[in-house]
Amino acid sequence: MSDTKKTPAPKRSAVASADEAIPDTTALPASGLIGSGQEGGLGDQIRAYISRVRGGDMGVLPAVAGFVVLSILFTVLSQYFLTERNIANLITQAAPSVMLAVGLVFVILLGEIDLSAGTTSGVAMALFVVLSDPGGPNLNWIVALIIALASGVVVGLFIGFFVARVGIPSFVVTLGLFLGFQGVQLLIIGTGGLYRIQEDAVIAIENGNMPIWGGWVMLAVMLLISFGTAMLDRGRRNRAGVPNRTIALVWIKLAAILVLGGVAVFLLSQNRGQVNVLDGKIVGGTIIEGVPIVVPLVLAILWVGTFVLDRTRYGRYLYAIGGNAEAARRAGIKVIGIKWAAFAICSTLAVVSGLFSASKVGSVDAAFGHDTVLTGVAAAVVGGVSLFGGRGRLVHAAVGALVISVITNGLGLLNLGGGINLIVTGGVLILAATVDAVSRVRAGGSLIRT
């Protein structure tokens, strides 16, 4: 059912009075508004979407297709891939890359880059383990974590100062920090040093699971938030007197979350541990079940970030600066402050990514986090985020990170780790960039962006 065009012609603003003098308004729609692409039923919306994709606006589609194809491929090749245990494993493997890629999107949207994100996470986590070390300062782990996150903010502000204020290319500033922070980390940890994560709560992020009901509550909250924001948007559009998209799209989206999320939560609610059963009773082993604790954390950060990018001035200005910084400046946007904040957000999320990674590995050494940043950038690009700025969404980067994690995970199951993994990841990155570029050329754009 479509609820378009049922609103009466809205009142014109004062300037419109002169327009009555112009007789020929017959070509305009009766609603008195120019189209917005929201009109029409489900069929129209699907046709519009297809034409957008054909027009080169592929978005996250190639990455999703890649994820599906790779998943099917590995399911065929390995009997272990589509097991509850491996799915949980894949999710926890992907979490640090997802977080890093999501953080990087904030600076990539500006057309900037942060090559030091990985080493920032390394330095921050080195601070964390040394400060919370029982043999050392023995700080409360929460205090140590706050210090680690704060150090991320400081690093981001530092980068922002040089990039936005002084005007040095971010590539150069962060390359310098990438080198320098490896030294800082070495000094903090000490040559050959390795600190084990002592705090159970930190270990639990990646290795602990929510109770079974927790997963279902999480799914219900997701459905509620999705439904609530959709209804809020529709309400606002109705009050403004502009057409809404057909409500069927809302139901389809909710159904998709329900089915995909439901399957995932169901699978993760099964026992994936080893148990010894004697006469139908469990006599030993461990039961591992429930959605990993890291999942709601990642989803919450993803949701907040997307909310900021889509619905607040700050997010809109990030896109505007990435699209045309001069236009943004002339529109009265404080470009320097926006950039500054973007680098702070990126570095802080990089520290969160480091926290997940440390939780997964269980220790932090002098090389921790050094080789992660380019994987994060690759994840963003694979997901369809443009390195030229102004184009891409957080969820794109998240899907991109999932694709790369599937490659790592699947090749690992096939005992093809190491070399093959890197080659395939690199190939997928170039393939993704090619798909993006070719789709843009087909849409009449230029292969070389200015």
Binding site: R12, A16, D19, I34, G55, E326, A328
Partner: protein, 249 residues
Amino acid sequence: MDVPIIELDDVKKSFGPVNVLKGVSLKAYPGKVTALVGDNGAGKSTLIKGLAGVQPYDEGTVKFNGDVVHLTSPREASHLGIEVVYQDLALCDNLDIVQNMFLGREETKLGTFDEGEMERQASETLRSLSVRTVKSVRQRVSSLSGGQRQTVAIARSVLKAAKVVILDEPTAALGVAQTEQVLALVKRLAEQNVAVIMISHNLVDVFQVADYISVLYLGQMVAEIETKNTTSDDVVGYITGSKTYGGAA
């Protein structure tokens, strides 16, 4: 004759030893198109930047609706209702029409965008300018033609009830049909009682839409004429300095 909404009197501006504006006067009336012509280096851009508050004048008075004002920042100019559409349009390709029109002044409720309200206002503004070439206000600007971009840039300037709109070479780099569209848009802008100041090198365009023509020559206003009282040849003469203007407008 009405009171001019903009009245510049003897404004001067110099950059170091170079006197770009040597005492320029200019008037613009509501509902009228005033063309500002002159050769390269005559000082057109400098004059406009002063009005926009980007580069304040060194000397001279600026009257807005008869009151003396000091335009020292783009914000002040914009607050008075003076909007500039620059030649390079200053649009973000990656944003759609609504987002571009509201950039920097979005409508929000509880800190989040009221997209419906923005969409309606954008749509109404485009309608009030009788824009028919835009299919959807949610199109990305990257998908628009040059004329459509100019349309969006102009619509952006009048979104918040602008009183004076300054257009910097709106028809440069446009094809014939698109030039016609934009010129028609300029006329409609004036019909809405907006004072339009249009910089142009194209005298055909100028004679088509302008009510008044002001000619700058080497930092001085050498002629302010009503279009109907002059000819293209005369204006060319004033621009190149081969003729001097003597008669009363």
